[in-house]
């Protein structure tokens, strides 16, 4: 009983750590990456970019941790789906780590660009555009395994009433909206990190924070 309570608390804390630090990091240090002059601005903000990359990497590890911490609870209600949910969140975490590596690569390119005297219409712009496009794309793609993994555990939560059904249903609906926005962004129907995409992702972000508090305070219903 107490194990389950501890596990719920850990999972709740991980949910918060997987969301809050990255929002703070994006607000504080993300501007130079999203700026149109990222090649020159990133080099001047080396420490900020490295901190931003570190936060993304931390988020990746936390997301993988969510999958691992949910596994012992979910496996009581079906080992296959529990393992699949964990696998998808591990995949999400790894892709976030890849995204952090991409950011560091972009920083290295930006530094080389400035060192070369910021030449216009050079190799740097094309290489930068490719790395940045891939990085932006990873930021959308990692949401897919998250959606699949989270759909699995919210379905189990809904079926078993481990958390209130309304919360599980909110999660499933939020994930459906996020899936629409992810595909929209991946295939160019919606801007990546556009206000429309943020609006679509808001319900699941809020739901996860409510779920986190619920797990910390109330835990799973036994």
């Amino acid at each position: 009983m107490s194990n389950s309570k501890t596990n719920a608390r850990i999972t709740g804390v991980l949910f918060i750590l997987g969301t809050v630090p990255i929002i703070v990091a994006m607000t504080l240090w993300g501007q130079s990456v999203s700026s149109p002059n990222y090649l020159s601005s990133m080099a001047g903000n080396r420490v900020h970019i490295l901190l931003y990359a570190l936060t993304i990497m931390f988020m990746g590890l936390v997301c993988a941790g969510i999958g691992i911490s949910l596994y012992p609870i979910l496996k009581r209600h079906g080992e296959g789906p529990a393992l699949a949910a964990m696998g998808f969140r591990l995949m999400e975490g790894t892709l976030q780590v890849v995204s952090a590596i991409g950011l560091v690569a972009l920083l290295a390119l930006s530094q080389a660009f400035v060192k070369a005297g910021s030449p216009p219409d050079s190799f740097f712009q094309s290489a930068g555009a490719a790395i940045k496009a891939v990085n932006d794309w990873v930021a959308d793609v990692y949401l897919l395994p998250w959606c699949i993994g989270a759909s699995i555990y919210y379905s189990i939560f809904y079926r078993t009433r481990l958390i209130p059904r309304a919360l599980s249903l909110w999660g499933l609906l939020g994930l459906a909206l996020m899936l629409v926005s992810t595909f929209g962004a991946m295939f160019g129907f919606m801007g990546s990190m556009s206000s429309m995409q943020i609006l679509f992702n808001l319900p699941i972000a809020l739901q996860e924070m409510v779920l986190a508090v619920w797990l910390i305070v109330k835990g799973y219903k036994e």
């Binding site: 080992e79 393992l83 696998g87 892709l95 094309s126 790395i131 794309w137 395994p145 295939f187």
Partner: protein, 230 residues
Amino acid sequence: MEATEGKSRLLGLAFLIQFVTSFTSGVIVLPMATGVRGFGVPDDIGQTMANIAKNAGLIQLNIFMELVTAAGVIFLGAMLYSAVRKQHEGLALTAFGLYVTEGVLIAVTKLALFALLVLSRQFIAAGSPASLELTARLVYEVMECSSKMLNFAFCLGGTIFYALLFKARTVARPMSLWGLVSAQGIFAGVLLGLFGMKAPIFLYVLYIPFELAIAVWILIRGVKKEDYHE
């Protein structure tokens, strides 16, 4: 009992999804989009980039299908784990981990393809400069290398799973033996590729129809019920 039949169908379905998406995207869509029919970096990378820029829709379709494959691999790994964990839990979990690695590497390979698409568009817009060919060649190499690594993870994971399926008799033994033997062909091909040698196509041929065959087998005949872990 009904739950076991449901799981058995899910396992069959997982193999089927895996076969349909990987075969269609790898054997039909990608060669159509790039104009490259064999393995390795094409000699005329400029022409390949022009093809990619011209067939951006097909490239995006390939990426989408491969992402479905990546999800399918993890799903299949979880289903196989449930089916064989009674035989050896540690080995089954290791194989599942290798399937997760494979799924991640599929996504990474497709990231490299996406980078190639962006570079190809820039290559055409900039009037085909040679400097971009060099970068594209590098990205293509990364794509090829991660593709070899994902096959490596798959071969190890597949070998463990098929050996456990063989031991458990979850499906007919000739079927799991087919998987076990044909995965070694891919393994040999991957090893040759890693050391820069061209792998003969026959090494891969035996495995290609296997996933379809086992999917159909499981969907029609089901699995041995008492070994399917609830």
